[in-house]
Amino acid sequence: MSAQAKGRAKAGATGPDRTGTDRTGTAEKSPAGLADPSLDVDALLDDPDTRIIVCCGSGGVGKTTTAAALGVRAAERGRRVVVLTIDPARRLAQSMGLSELDNTPRPVKGVAGDNGGELFAMMLDMKRTFDEIVLAHSDPERARTILENPFYQSLSAGFAGTQEYMAMEKLGQLRARDEWDLIVVDTPPSRSALDFLDAPNRLGSFLDGRFIRVLTAPAKVGGRGAMKFLGVGMGLVTGVLTKVLGAHVLTDVQTFVAALDSMFGGFRERADRTYKLLQAPGTAFLVVAAPERDALREAAYFVDRLAADRMPLAGLVLNRVHTTGAPQLTAERALAGAETLEENGAEQDPDGADGSPGSSGSTGAPSASAAEAVAAGLLRLHAERMQVMARERSTRDRFVSVYPDVPITEVAALPGDVHDLDGLREIGTRLGRTPA
């Protein structure tokens, strides 16, 4: 690890002082004249020093798809990869052979590289991960008390940030097993952008917090000290809690919290270790975004947060970008053309309406006007496409002008959903292709 870390230290230095490195490729000029370094995804995947790739971004932008596509591509390029997915679409999960949430990486059939590449995938099951921690960190007797506690049962799946925390916990575990040379991590759609970085800390500070000490006061001397310090009588607080919660609830809460407290004994250290792992040069963050105003605003926030936390940003994946094969035809001309054809059609229509189609004379006429209608449709579609592209381009340029050093790769939108290995390969190819 340390040898790799040294090797990567230079290339991965994309903290607050992000600079172009060999990884960021060459700076190119976009039409707007903005410097626009492109992201070389294949180089990132091929670099043996890349050990963890984290795909983050706002909801629905394609994090899970990107993570899975990177996994497939890396494996087919010869790496031994595990992808940790969160809530994949049902059909996508099935295509990767993920039929159950069992928290164990399973080999994905149909994906193999010539030089020993292999793909494993797993879906994260929060409740199970939580239970596993309980079982691993408390004796059987205590574990049973916790697992049966009503508060544990109703809250273990729903703690704020649990999913984020569990994803990081699982990442730490996979990394520790050292069976894969690349781990690709998907992240949950966070309510506030970087919950998965904050969650471990929040849970940690909660467990270290005074309230916990008070709740567990009967069991711990420290609790009373805290109460004295605050100048509040123990009786008053317990009294209020009893009044608000009812005595039996308070007891349940106390048991639960005491159990959590002891079980998360090593919690802080593990959270710190995972956090450091994320900062290490072997890690690469990819911020995924759609070329839309809101999504890019959130992407900007991610980029800032990663820099502030000194997390190594590899670049931005601009997903579902629209393209055209006929850029020479402007939206305006296409629309004007469509209107011309539609006006022609309207003029011909009255004739067609009072006579039968056959009686209109030339047999080619009906088909010609049908062809005109189709052509008008083609032109309208094209105009729409050009307008969308113009919007996407200006949104992208606005981002680039604020973050000129963030390498970008664009992934063209597929017409349908991505739900099988071929679809993932197609996305992978697009990811690997550096934008012209």
Binding site: G158, F159, V240, L241, G246, V249
Partner: protein
């Protein structure tokens, strides 16, 4: 499908509209448009935000909302393309769970100094951030309180619209009080939780789901409706958002692809895309390179139309009232929001 404009609104007796849906499908936008639509004819509505994201403020282009009911819009009939008089009002509230908890404790327990002590200890933090269950109790409790609140000459609000958590969490969110009532088997919390559940399960509440005509959002909608029904929660309507009108269908594309390529090329020349050349071959040379790219785009479009048809069929099986909102070209500004509101009104959602 959407009702005829003449029919009365579909949700006549509903006081609390809960708007959920997959992330990013337009929950906040639709909730706001619905609050505007429901405020027509001189009514008062309250739009509630629970995720602490200040999405409402952003949408209306105003400063961050405090934990306080503020007027954010007035609605004249003309703005919704209607006749008649009477200006409606839309208020908004961004619920801050911490303040809501203090308010709640104060209301029920008159805590005074002890409340402050709890706060100092981090108990409020504990309750609102670590235990979302308690958080959700407060959020749903506050929404129910606003929906039931008395005002001069009747209710304080004719309708309350909540921009709710996404489909994946909505059932649990709305049902949290049942869970709480189970945990606290008696006492004040138990009673409060039961009171909230009575409102949420009543015909005065409707849970609407926003979706796009794409696989995942539709799947989530279908699953979400199933979960809501199973939990005995009142399912409202389905709002299909960002709908694009089909321009060409599969058959048209096949026609061009096959024998009619030549005719389409000629039509493109008629459309004035043949360039300046006078010779037939010159014109043709200009149009030829356009054909394949245009056809590719049409094929993609047709594929999407086909997929959308499948998604529509899945939604129809739910047998719920449904509304369709168009995709607005440049995104949703204030004008666009009123357009969507007018559309909801026209289709009978309000």
């Amino acid at each position: 499908m959407a009702d005829t404009p003449e029919a009365g609104p579909d949700w006549e007796g509903v006081r609390l509209h809960v708007v959920s849906g997959k992330g990013g499908t337009g929950k906040t936008t639709v909730a706001a448009a619905l609050a505007i639509a429901l405020a027509a004819e001189g009514r008062r509505t309250l739009l509630i935000e629970v995720e602490g994201r200040q999405g409402i403020a952003e949408l209306f282009g105003i400063a961050a909302l405090p934990y306080e009911e503020r007027k954010v819009a007035s609605v004249s009939p003309a703005q919704l393309g209607l006749e008649g008089a009477g200006t409606g009002e839309v208020f908004a509230l961004a619920i801050d769970p911490e303040q809501a908890l203090l308010e709640y404790l104060e209301m029920f327990y008159k805590l005074g100094r002890a409340g402050k002590a709890l706060r100092k200890l981090g108990a409020i933090d504990f309750a609102t951030t670590i235990a979302p269950g308690l958080r959700d109790v407060l959020l749903t409790g506050k929404a129910c309180e606003a929906a039931r609140r008395k005002g001069p000459g009747g209710r304080a609000y004719d309708a309350v619209v909540m921009d709710a958590p996404p489909t994946g969490r909505i059932t649990r969110f709305l049902n949290v009080n049942t869970e709480v009532a189970g945990l606290a088997r008696f006492g004040p919390i138990h009673n409060q939780a039961q009171a909230v559940m009575r409102v949420i399960r009543s015909p005065e509440t409707a849970v609407h789901l926003v979706t796009l005509l794409e696989e995942m959002p539709v799947q989530e909608t279908v699953d979400g409706v199933g979960e809501l029904r199973e939990a005995g929660l009142p399912v409202g309507g389905v709002v299909v958002n960002m709908v694009r009108p089909p321009v060409l269908d599969e058959a048209a594309v096949r026609a061009v692809d096959g024998d009619h390529r030549e005719e389409v090329a000629r039509a493109l020349v008629d459309a004035g895309l043949g360039g300046r050349s006078r010779s037939a071959t010159g014109v043709r040379a200009h149009v030829e390179p356009l054909l394949d790219p245009l056809l590719d785009q049409a094929r993609e479009h047709a594929e999407r139309v086909l997929l959308e048809r499948g998604q529509r069929a899945d939604l129809e099986q739910l047998e719920l009232p449904s509304y369709e909102l168009p995709l607005l070209g440049g995104g949703v500004d204030l004008g666009g929001l009123y357009r969507l509101a007018a559309e909801l009104k026209r289709q009978g959602a309000a």
